[in-house]
């Protein structure tokens, strides 16, 4: 009987959790006139107009493309630089290692609002304003430390004897690292890529500050729409639904690894 009560509670919570998302889905399938005209729990006049508009109007869909470009660049930079560093932290003691690790961590914790203004000046001065690479580099501020942190956790789980054996067998460090070590922690690499992707994807303030038109992310386009008069709720809801899709896809593919990532408490 007790078990049942728990499960009922959990199911109710999941219901509450899904309700706001369902409501947005509901709105996204209706036209603005229909939304403002009548209040219904299920869309009776479901239409894909909003989605079609977003996917055909370049001022909308270019936002998704821009976001995906800088997020991908950022994920690659983060992974490539963080992999060797995480190996160093998990295997070696060296001068200032702990302080270095702490300093990296503070950047994960630092308020983006503090960095937005100097970033704007920095990237203006080097002529990188409104480019994808600027946003990708700026997001490294919190994603590289995050990547080091998560990867270090996974690498510490691999016994050092593996490294020693490989070196005795005459493997050079780069060859060992790429052909033996990285395949061993590929789950960790997957989880890390996932979190880098997500955190760059969800960030709004820096991305908005560093872009004007050419690299404007979808998040900034959505907030612009909110402040505009004559708000089109159906369109906004559809745009919102589409921003959830990448997360949903990735979560499904990494559901088993994710639990482990969370278990390490390194999010």
């Amino acid at each position: 009987m007790k078990v049942k009560k728990k499960t009922i509670g959990l199911v109710i919570y999941f219901g509450l959790l899904l309700m706001p998302i369902y409501w947005m889905l509901n709105m996204s399938l209706r036209t603005n006139a229909s939304i403002l005209g009548s209040f219904v729990l299920f869309p009776t006049d479901a239409t894909f107009t909003n989605y079609i508009k977003i996917l055909t109007d370049s001022s909308w869909y270019s936002g998704y493309i821009n976001s995906i470009i800088y997020v991908s660049i950022n994920t690659i930079i983060s992974l490539v630089t963080a992999l060797p560093a995480a190996y160093a932290f998990s295997r070696y003691r060296f001068l200032g290692d702990k302080h270095m690790f702490f300093w990296l961590l503070t950047n994960r914790m630092a308020p983006a609002a503090v960095f937005a203004l100097p970033f704007f000046q920095l990237y203006s001065s080097v002529g990188l304003m409104d480019t994808h690479i600027a946003v990708a580099l700026a997001h490294c501020l919190f994603n590289v430390p995050l990547a080091v942190w998560i990867l270090e956790g996974f690498m510490s789980g691999i016994p050092k004897e593996i490294d020693e054996t490989a070196f005795i067998d005459g493997y050079s460090f780069p060859r060992f690292f790429i052909t033996i070590f990285i395949p061993l922690i590929r789950a960790g690499v997957g989880v890390t890529a996932f979190f880098c992707f997500m955190f760059s994807w969800v960030e709004l303030l820096i991305a908005r500050t560093l872009t004007v038109t050419n690299a404007k992310p979808i998040a900034a386009i959505m907030t612009r729409t909110i402040s505009a008069t004559g708000l089109d709720y159906g369109l906004l809801a559809a745009a919102g639904m589409l921003t959830i899709v990448p997360g949903m896809l990735v979560i499904w593919f990494t559901r088993n690894h994710m639990a482990k990532g969370f278990a390490l408490g390194r999010v």
Binding site: L95, G96, L122, L128
Partner: protein, 94 residues
């Protein structure tokens, strides 16, 4: 694409400030290489290395400066003296 430093709006006091911190870090690194130190326990609630104590000292000084600015109208030079004493106390007995 050239990296100019004009946008950073450097001033002499801030240049001195950051140079001092940089020199302290270099000195600490050399000291650590010449005479490696180990963690110990002082009056601070956690075991610390000299590097930890430097950080705690600097962060503490920052708070002291802010408190001084918020609560008093006296010159900052007095505060600088207090901060130096505080740094020495933390480094020596922390």
């Amino acid at each position: 694409m050239t990296l100019t430093l004009e946008w950073m709006e450097w001033t002499l006091p801030t240049a001195i400030f950051f140079s001092t911190i940089f020199l302290i870090l270099v000195a600490m690194t050399i000291w650590q290489t010449v005479a490696p130190s180990i963690e110990r326990r002082g009056f601070l609630p956690i075991p610390t290395t000299p590097g930890d104590r430097l950080f705690i000292g600097l962060l503490g000084s920052a708070y002291l400066f802010l408190a001084w600015l918020a609560l008093t109208d006296f010159t900052l030079w007095i505060m600088l003296g207090i901060a130096v004493v505080w740094m020495i106390v933390v480094m020596r007995w922390g």
